[in-house]
């Protein structure tokens, strides 16, 4: 399989290898959707939750330019908007032989549904549908419904395919 060396997920896997599992930066947002759909949805930036004081030196040693919580180098753009998730779950699994940490599919669906409902973002509506279609037989439905209730998006969970 031909692989692009500039692949942002290859970079994420390499970055994650600097941290133990419970301290790895957590991939969230559109690039998490891209990963979970294996590229069928796409996003430009990598949004990471993690300790910026620990991540920044690694990025800066690799010639990333920093502007506050934003880092960029070539085609890779990284934002570190927060250092913790606010109650959401994350999962650690393997990508390209290295472990990475990603917000769980259920919470990512809820995040997208919030964008769909409260931001009126069609892009987020589509992402939610793609994730739900792809993982519907694997989801923790009890958790998904509870999170939807808490975030006031339950009415959007009735996807039709």
């Amino acid at each position: 399989m031909g692989r692009r060396l500039s692949n942002k997920f290859d970079f994420l896997a390499e970055l994650s290898s600097h941290f133990p599992d419970d301290k790895k930066p957590i991939l969230v947002g559109g690039s998490a959707v891209e990963l979970y759909t294996r590229g069928r949805a796409t996003s430009l930036d990598l949004d990471l939750i993690g300790d910026i004081s620990k991540i920044a030196p690694i990025l800066e040693n690799q010639d990333f330019k920093r502007e506050g919580r934003h880092f960029h180098k070539g085609l890779i753009y990284i934002e570190i908007p927060s250092d913790i998730l606010h109650g959401e779950r994350s999962a650690v699994f393997e990508y390209d032989g290295k472990k990475i940490r990603v917000i769980c599919v259920e919470d990512l669906i809820i995040d997208r549904l919030c964008g769909c409902k409260f931001w009126k973002s069609e892009y987020d509506c589509e992402h939610a549908r793609m994730l739900f279609a792809s993982y519907k037989n694997k989801l923790d439905m009890g958790y998904l419904k509870e999170r939807a209730r808490v975030e006031d998006v339950s009415e959007l969970l009735s996807f039709e395919f």
């Binding site: 692009r4 294996r38 069928r40 393997e94 931001w119 069609e122 793609m130 975030e151």
Partner: protein
């Protein structure tokens, strides 16, 4: 509800949802991609996501 920043798509000229048929195809493409390259354990937890190119 946590406060959320302004939607990047606000104010753009797209005002109608995309064709539902198109979204259905996107979903089918994603389903196929996950079937091909996401490995689960017996508890439906993801163990591995395989890199993709044009699969």
């Amino acid at each position: 509800m946590k406060p959320r920043k302004i939607d990047k798509t606000d104010g753009l000229i797209r005002r109608r949802p995309r064709d539902p048929a198109k979204i259905k195809i996107f979903c089918e493409m994603a389903v196929e991609a996950v079937e091909k390259g996401v490995i689960f354990d017996e508890n439906n937890r993801i163990v591995r996501i395989l890199p993709w190119d044009d699969d």
